[in-house]
């Protein structure tokens, strides 16, 4: 070590590359980090705890990529898709590629923008590295999933779907909201709330679920991406602490953003709750357990730590604590009812899964949800599988169909309504309505899928025209798993009973 400068100095020399501009005043060169009301006294107080510099960044990222692609090649050469627990599992990947990978791309763009617009060069360099990471994430995910796209439906038009299909407007609108905010709000939205507080609930259970279901390709790209997330988490926390330490006037602004963005993120993750509890044939952990571990325990520790700035846990944390017993069951119900218009398959959980759910949700599953699933199963067996043919009313803020219930009465769907500028707006919950009333002129412009369909902007009237506009392969991308080409192919490849050609039997 003797003749090298130490990490702290290296970091200083290799990231503090800015200068005071002289041809134009600084505030004209960096015009966007002032209008949100965040006061900064000294950008030099910004410090990246990872002290990552570009030279080591390239070294580590290059090494990660080499490992990742070696595994992805091995996965496709050995037909790794045949080693997964069951073809139902692949629907979790469809949801991921349609809903999450495009967010990686949005994150790439967002951090590139902040990497230009922050006045402090330490913050700019950290954002630029994250921007490159996020581009790497979307690329490796698309590459990893391309193997599945060769064998399964529901992958082929993911970017088109992300921009149009109703359930994907949930994650899309979340990121559009962040990318159309100012740079500091973006950092609280994505850097802090999503990357620091909520990312564990998305990636960790997802990737451990992939491992548990034999999908080594996804585990590898997931954990490879996640090793970047650790850096992103520190950037988010650093950005937030920086704002809180620079001026006390920043505290209420930051608190309002935390309240807004943790709720927005929580609603997006409700799709993940259904994925964990219902789509994974083998679930390593329930949504409720993940919520307790990663939000209540880790998030609780974080908020204890932030208390010294006067930051408090959002008041709706109690709603989440009660809702964790209901969330995944209600979301799966919504998806099941609307699978005719979704590029993934659904199914009624089998007995083993229902028993697992009873065990994990002793207070609610048998009481409220098992009877519902058993009724649906009876209806299916009687040839009455019901697919909703109408458009759901969706929440103006989170864009999820209104299907969540009142916290005090799980049999009553929650509705909230307000008026703005002569029009009525509907919400799934009090926090979603509060977010709207704080920024009505922004949220009244949201692109709402059902309204857009009714206005004739999505291919025409009625479901068939809309599905054609969506570019679905009807009967292959959508509808039940039972009877799908995915199921037929899987049974054939695995030599299971029920194979389409009837020649092969269980081995």
């Amino acid at each position: 070590m003797a003749n090298r400068i130490n990490m702290r100095d290296r970091y200083k020399h290799m990231t503090r590359l800015g200068w005071e501009t002289s041809y134009q005043p600084m505030e004209k060169v960096f015009p966007y980090d002032r209008y949100e009301g965040i006061k900064v006294n000294d950008w030099n107080e910004w410090e990246d705890p990872f002290r990552m510099t570009m030279d080591s960044y390239w070294k580590y990222q290059g090494e990660k990529e080499k490992k990742l692609y070696a595994i992805m090649d091995a996965f496709s050469q050995s037909n790794g898709h045949l080693n997964i627990s069951d073809a139902r599992y692949v629907n979790a990947l469809k949801l991921f590629l349609q809903g999450v990978s495009p967010l990686e791309y949005q994150a790439h763009r967002g951090f590139a923008r902040q990497g230009r617009h922050f006045t402090g060069e330490g913050a700019r360099v950290a954002c630029q590295m994250q921007s490159l990471d996020e581009l790497r994430h979307v690329q490796t995910q698309v590459h990893g999933m391309s193997q599945y796209n060769k064998f399964f439906d529901g992958f082929h038009e993911f970017p088109w779907w992300h921009d149009r299909v109703w359930y994907l407007s949930v994650p899309k609108s979340f990121f559009d909201d962040a990318n159309s905010a100012g740079p500091f709000e973006f950092m609280v939205a994505i850097g802090f709330s999503f990357e620091y507080v909520l990312t564990n609930l998305l990636f960790v259970p997802f990737m451990s679920g992939a491992a548990y279901n034999g999908d080594m390709s996804t585990v590898t790209f997931g954990f490879s991406a996640q090793s970047d997330e650790a850096r992103h988490m520190t950037l988010g926390l650093q950005a937030m602490q920086f704002m809180l330490e620079q001026h006390e006037d920043n505290v209420p602004i930051v608190q309002r953003w935390i309240d807004k963005w943790l709720w927005r993120g929580y609603k997006v993750l409700s799709l993940v709750s259904a994925m964990m509890d219902y789509m994974l044939p083998e679930s390593p952990m329930s949504w409720k357990e993940a919520w307790e571990m990663y939000f209540e325990e880790n998030g609780g520790a974080l908020f204890n730590d932030l208390a010294r700035y006067g930051i408090t846990v959002p008041s709706y944390a109690e709603i989440c604590a009660k809702e964790k017993d209901h969330l995944s069951h209600q979301v799966w119900g919504i998806l099941y009812n609307h699978t005719a218009a979704a590029a993934m398959h659904t199914w009624v959980p089998d007995d083993a899964k229902m028993n697992w759910l009873s065990e994990k949700y002793p207070d609610t599953f048998d009481k409220y949800y098992r009877p519902r699933f058993e009724y649906w199963r009876d209806q299916e067996e009687a040839g009455n599988r019901y697919y909703s043919q109408t458009l759901p009313l969706v929440c103006q803020t989170c864009q999820i169909p209104m299907g969540f219930t009142e916290i005090e009465d799980p049999t009553l769907v929650a509705y909230r309504t307000t008026e703005y500028s002569g029009d009525k707006y509907h919400f799934c919950s009090d926090p979603c309505m509060k977010i709207f009333t704080d920024e009505p002129e922004k949220f009244c412009q949201a692109w709402m899928p059902p309204q857009q369909i009714f206005q004739g902007n999505c291919g025409g009237e009625g479901l068939p025209a809309v599905l054609e506009h969506y570019k679905f392969n009807l009967g292959a991308d959508n509808m039940d798993y039972a009877g799908s080409p995915d199921e037929t192919n899987w049974n054939k490849w695995k030599g299971l009973d029920g194979a389409g050609d009837g020649q092969v039997k269980a081995s």
């Binding site: 070590m1 130490n6 990490m7 702290r8 705890p49 990872f50 002290r51 990552m52 080591s56 580590y60 090494e63 990660k64 990312t199 564990n200 990636f203 960790v204 990737m207 451990s208 679920g209 992939a210 491992a211 548990y212 585990v219 954990f223 996640q226 090793s227 997330e229 650790a230 850096r231 988490m233 520190t234 926390l237 390593p284 952990m285 325990e297 880790n298 609780g300 520790a301 974080l302 204890n304 730590d305 208390a307 010294r308």
Partner: protein
């Protein structure tokens, strides 16, 4: 007292790091989950360059944690000789 946590990939490269954590953090708890190891401790966790280097038999740079780290909860403090996660309260 708050708990910090660290999640590492369950791969060969992480094993000497896990061993070093065991040696330097007597109160740490280890939870093996599919493809990962989740390590928790009260208030702080430290990974020392010297201990990991001794485990491997070659010099280990704390920045190499980048290659196996999945996630963590706490503040990060990284220097030439250690990588530390802590809460301030």
């Amino acid at each position: 007292m708050s708990k910090v946590f660290l999640a590492l990939q369950d791969v060969d490269e992480a094993r000497p790091i896990v061993e070093a954590i065991r040696k330097d953090n007597p109160n740490a708890e280890f939870d093996h989950q599919p493809a990962m190891i989740r390590i928790t401790a009260d208030q702080e966790l430290i990974i020392k360059r010297e201990t990991v280097s001794n485990e491997i038999g070659a010099d280990w740079d704390p920045q190499d944690i980048q290659l196996t780290l999945i996630s963590f909860g706490g503040h990060v403090d990284e220097d030439d000789d250690y990588f530390r996660i802590f809460w301030q309260d």
